[in-house]
Symmetry: C2
Subunit: 326 residues, 2 copies
DNA sequence: TTTATGTGTGTAACCGGTTCCACATTTCGA
DNA sequence: TCGAAATGTGGAACCGGTTACACACATAAA
C-alpha cells in the first residue's frame, strides 16, 4: 500500500505538505504543489480513509437502515439515497432491520464504531433513545418524527385520495385493508381512507393485516373475499397486498374493475405491468430517498437546516383496476 | 466518546491489558478480567473499529457491488449476502454500478480506502484488472469467472429447461427474447434455449433486448407481437420482460396460456402474484447471495478454499402461463 | 537450589493520516 | 529602510486502538 510518506519521499517534501496539498488547506507553493501532484499520480496514491477518519473523527460513510430490501418499495428508496450520496462522494453502510429493535440497535452501534457521519433510517421507533443518544445527524425516511429531520409522504392524504377516487368511481361496499399497526405510514393511510368513507357515509369493512410480506399477502386476500365476497372496492395497504387481492379476485372469477375495483399504495414498478395494470396512490420513493440523502448531507455539512421535515406529494395513478369517469 | 483509556483508568489497569482482555489474546488474570469487564459495562464501551482497522489493516467491512438494486432480482441477492454477513458480524458497504465501468472503479477504489476485507461483485468484467489488482478476496456473484471464486446458477441449463418445457407443452412457433449481449448469464440462457430449439427442429424467432429495465420491457413486448403476432410461446430473458410480454399479450386479447405460453427467468417474488401467475425458471437468488457471503468469509478467514466455484441449481416453476401436461 | 517455563502486566512503538506550532522567507505598507 | 503581515515548509503530537518487548513473579523440573 502506498502511503502519504511514500508520496512525500517521492516529491522530496514532508508529509505535512502533502497533506496540505491534497486537502487544499494552508499554503502550498505552486511549484511544490506540482511536485506533489506528480508524485501522487506516479505512485497512484489514494489516501487511507481509515487513518483520516481516526484523526478527524469524521468519514465519508453514512449508515442506511431499512426494514427489508426485499420488499419492492425499499429498493427505490435505497437507490434514491445511494444516488444522492454517490453524487456527494459519500458511501453507504447498509443494513436490514426487519423492524427488529435488537438488529436496529446492533447496526446503529456498528455504524458508530465505524465513524459514520450520519444515519438514514426507516424505523418504527424514531423516538427511541437509540436515536436520541446519537450525536450525529439522523434523517428518518418514510417515517415521521415531530422534532427530528424526516422525509416522508402524506399518508393520510393518500388514504383520503384512494377513498375519494374509489367512491367517485362508484364502489358502494368497500373493504379497507389496514396495514400493520406498528407502521405509522400504514396507519395514516388507513386513517385517511376511513375518514373519507365515514364522511361520505359509505358502507365499509376492515381487514387487519400484520405485515407487507408476499407470502402473507395471499392469505389476507383470501380472507378478504371469504369474509366479504360481495365487496366491490378494495383499498389495499400497499401494492403487494393489492396485487394479491387482484390475483385472488381473478381466481374467483371476478372482473376487475367491473365487479370490484382495487387501489394500491406506493406505485412499485411492477404495478404498471400487471393485468389489468394497477391503479394506485403513488409515493415518489426514489425522490424521497434522494431528498433524504441531500437533507442529511446538509445537516452534516451545515450543522443545522431550516426545512428539516420534507413532505413529498402523493398522487393518484389511474390505471386499469379502477373504472373510468368522465 | 469513551475510549480504551477510559476503560483502563476505570479498571485500574493499562490499555494493553484491556485490549488483551476484549480480544481474548494473551494472558489475563481472572480477577483482572472481571475488573475490565465491569469497566466496559459501566462505561458502555465499544471499541473504535476505525482505530482497530488502522493498525491491523483489517476491518469487519466488505464491499458489495450490484448493477442496480432497483431491478427486482437483486434485492434477493443483496438480502442473502446481508444475512450471511450479518450472522458473522460483517457489515456491508453497498454500491450500484449501473454496469458502468467508471462507477465500478470508483466504488472499488473507495472500498479499498476504507479497508474492506473482501468484495462481492456482480460485474460484467470479472477479468478486468480492477479486480485482478486487488489483494483482498473477491467473489463474483451471478457471474462466472473461470479462475476466480464465484457463485452462480446454470444459465445454459435454465435456458434448455425453458425450451424443453415449452416444447413439451406444445408451442410450435417460439420467440426467444435475447437479453443484453454484455451480460453473460443472459447469453447463457439464450444459448441453452436455442440449442434445444435447434435440436428439436422447432421454428423460432429472436428478439434482441438491451437491458432489463421496466421502462423498456414494455416496448420490447410490443415489438415482439408486432413482428411475430402468431407466436405461440415466448421464452423471456427474465421475469420483468416476461411480465411485460404477458401484459402486452393480454392487451392484444390473447389468451395465456392457450394462445401463447410464456416462461420467464429468475422467479422474482411478484411472479407468483401475476394473473395468470408466471411460469418461470427459478434461480435461488437469496441462497446465491448467502453462499457468496459464506464463501467470501471462508476466503477471508482461511485464505484459500477448495470449492471456489459454487453453482446452484435452476428449476422449472410451473404456474399458469404454461399449459398443463399429464 | 538452580534453571527453565508459564503467567500476568505495563511501556512504548506503530498504523497513516491531520494539524498545531515554530521557524524561515517573501511581500508590502509606512 | 524597517517592521508587520503573508506565505511556505517541516517536526512532532495526536487520533484510539494492537502488539512487541521487557520485566516480575509463580511454578515445575532437574
Amino acid at each position: 500500500m502506498v502511503t502519504i510518506k511514500d508520496v512525500a519521499r517521492h516529491a522530496g517534501v514532508s508529509v505535512a505538505t502533502v497533506s496540505r496539498c491534497i486537502n487544499e488547506t494552508g499554503y502550498v507553493h505552486a511549484d511544490t504543489r506540482k511536485k506533489v501532484e506528480d508524485a501522487v499520480r506516479a505512485l497512484n496514491y489514494a489516501p487511507n480513509e481509515v487513518a483520516r477518519s481516526l484523526y478527524t473523527r469524521k468519514s465519508k460513510l453514512i449508515g442506511l437502515l431499512l426494514p427489508d430490501i426485499t420488499n419492492p418499495y425499499f429498493p427505490q428508496l435505497a437507490r434514491g439515497v445511494e444516488d444522492g450520496m454517490q453524487a456527494n462522494e459519500f458511501r453507504i453502510i447498509f443494513g436490514n432491520s426487519d423492524e427488529n429493535e435488537q438488529k436496529e440497535q446492533e447496526y446503529i452501534q456498528t455504524f458508530i464504531q465505524n465513524n459514520v457521519v450520519g444515519v438514514i433510517s426507516s424505523t418504527n421507533r424514531p423516538d427511541s433513545d437509540i436515536y436520541a443518544k446519537l450525536n450525529i445527524p439522523v434523517v428518518f425516511l418514510d417515517r415521521t418524527s415531530s422534532d427530528s429531520p424526516s422525509v416522508y409522504s402524506d399518508g393520510r392524504k393518500g388514504g383520503r385520495l384512494a377513498a375519494q377516487e374509489m367512491i367517485a368511481r362508484g364502489s358502494k361496499r368497500i373493504t379497507v385493508l389496514r396495514g400493520p399497526v406498528h407502521i405509522r405510514p400504514a396507519q395514516d393511510r388507513f386513517q385517511g381512507a376511513v375518514e373519507v368513507l365515514e364522511e361520505a357515509g359509505i358502507d365499509y369493512n376492515i381487514i387487519q393485516t400484520s405485515s407487507f410480506s408476499f407470502a402473507e399477502a395471499e392469505s389476507w386476500a383470501k380472507e378478504l373475499f371469504a369474509k366479504h365476497l360481495d365487496t366491490d372496492g378494495v383499498i389495499a395497504s400497499n401494492d403487494i397486498v393489492a396485487t394479491a387481492v387482484l390475483h385472488e379476485a381473478q381466481r374467483l372469477g371476478k372482473r376487475v374493475p367491473e365487479d370490484v375495483q382495487v387501489i394500491g399504495f406506493d406505485d412499485i414498478p411492477l404495478s404498471s405491468l400487471l393485468s389489468p395494470s394497477l391503479s394506485t396512490i403513488r409515493q415518489p420513493a426514489y425522490d424521497m430517498g434522494k431528498e433524504a440523502a441531500l437533507l442529511l448531507i446538509r445537516l452534516i455539512e451545515q450543522g443545522k437546516v431550516d426545512n428539516r421535515n420534507i413532505q413529498l406529494p402523493v398522487s393518484f395513478v389511474e390505471r386499469d383496476t379502477t373504472r373510468k369517469v368522465d
